[in-house]
Symmetry: C2
Subunit: 306 residues, 2 copies
């Protein structure tokens, strides 16, 4: 397949539609912004061997994940997706690059269609390195005010939208459903102080929110929901650690004023919010253990070094 | 350097400013669209060993080129840049990743500042593969009508904005100046039928424009400007081939109605437009040689296979 043939097949497969005025086939895409005129942009690059292993999964699942993690970022910005831009580095050694691209775009398209997101452009390359995919997504705010990481205030309560841990080991990171339904409901129903998605694990992401907000947090260990993907026969301390630090959960982490907690508890069927702690003045994260002891999380969580 | 420290240094170095309402530091960026509400998005991924060789150049030049090729795409859409999103895959074997990132962002920042583009987000990863960088850029249209590749009409005249060939061999592809000054002048002054930038070489990109427009082109070989980077002692046929097919020129290719040609010829000092041929009905590209013979370019130009 030549590059032109591939581009033409993409342009036919992904025609421009509202709010994309011009999509695949030119030097860039043109979008019509919503009347209030704000545009949200997110981007994430996923790499073979780091974010998935192409030796173990289909290209479709890799494509799906690359779009899903970006949709999760949009949910964390209380925005709905509008257009997706797919950049690819395909290994020259790929035995059947046409079949590879078909599978990859199948995974992308299925999720894009589900969330009414137009694939509107990108860039496809081949090289001697491993597979890499970058997705850039534009979105439109669902709410007039966009809650950032920096908005948490002492007195706020902390919630997560689902159980944590075991995502990588179970493969859940490849098939999770980005929390855009929750984002839409939050935008309509709840005053949120601060919001982000949990991609590196609660123990890494919560400190980021607290540092951005200039606040500290108290977590109640017994309230942190542990996913059924975390092996039940692990000792309790390791199960807790899995929920805090495995990462790749892609649940939302919210700080809300106490008055909003009632709304969260009365959320419609299927939208679950679990209170895990509260925001206080000061710095750092305190974890209150079931035995009444408390411990401090490392200031920056467990980060990878660059 | 931890990931948090790096993100904080980026957020300080690249503060949000108009039209970016929120930049680095959250799950996404928020931009304010212009009153007419259209947003242009371009993206390009550049790979070590394909688009540059990090063994031979500084990370600054790699970063500069990654932004420059995207700025060139925006120029081809008659748009001015607003925000840039930088995704990186850094080899784990990099001996000093802090110095690497400093140099890379220095190259990005210098060009971004020159064109008033806010670096508003991105994603930084390390892996066992070679260096890869993706840039996604948002832009704001400079004109109410955006000329696409598909707008050329029989009777239009074809122009390029500068001499072609020798870009890779000379290193010009690392230091070229994206034609945003020309884009701004065109938006204000000329009715353009079709526009694109020449990244894969005139012999590949012109057929794309003609195919998108459903038209053919006649080129006069003697009118195609050959860059001084093409060795002067090459035989004329090879010099012409270099101008047609070396690629990485990042000049603009325009089709304009005959009435607009006068405006191009009267362009201000420093904006050069060279007429190279004309648009006709039909298909394919005919090249009129100095000896009066004519030859046909291969239908798809010289494309790389995926």
């Amino acid at each position: 397949m030549t590059e032109n043939e591939f581009l033409q097949s993409l342009a036919q497969r992904f025609p421009a539609r509202n709010p994309v005025l011009h999509g695949i086939g030119d030097d860039g895409a043109v979008l019509q912004a919503e009347p209030h005129g704000r545009v949200v942009v997110v981007t994430d690059m996923l790499l073979d061997g780091t974010h998935f292993r192409l030796s173990e999964i289909t290209p479709a699942l890799a494509g799906r994940k690359a779009l899903a993690v970006n949709l999760s970022d949009l949910a964390a910005m209380l925005a709905k997706p509008t257009a997706a831009f797919i950049s690819l580095a395909i290994p020259r050694a790929t035995t059947d690059s046409t079949a590879f691209l078909q599978s990859l775009y199948h995974g992308l398209q299925e999720l894009a269609d589900e969330f009414h997101c137009v694939i509107a452009g990108g860039d496809t390359n081949s090289w001697d390195g491993p597979f890499a995919i970058n997705v850039a997504l534009t979105g439109s705010p669902l709410s007039t005010s966009i809650p950032l990481r920096s908005g948490a205030r002492p007195g706020d309560l902390l919630f997560v939208t689902g159980p944590l841990g075991g995502s990588l080991a179970s493969g859940r990171h490849l098939t999770f459903r980005p929390r855009l339904d929750i984002a839409r409901w939050l935008a309509d129903s709840v005053s949120v102080s601060a919001l982000m998605d949990i991609s590196d694990g609660l123990a890494t992401d919560l400190p980021r929110m607290m540092q951005a907000s200039g606040t500290s947090a108290r977590l109640t260990a017994a309230d942190i929901p542990i996913h059924s993907d975390v092996p039940p026969d692990l000792p309790p301390a390791l199960r807790l650690q899995a929920a805090l630090s495995d990462g790749e959960d892609f649940e939302l982490l919210l700080a809300v004023p106490p008055a909003a907690a009632t709304a969260l508890q009365a959320a419609p069927e299927g939208l679950a919010f679990q209170q895990i702690g509260s925001v206080e003045a000061g710095q750092g994260i305190t974890l209150l253990m079931p035995d009444g002891q408390s411990s401090r999380l490392p200031a920056g969580g467990w980060q990878h070094r660059l």
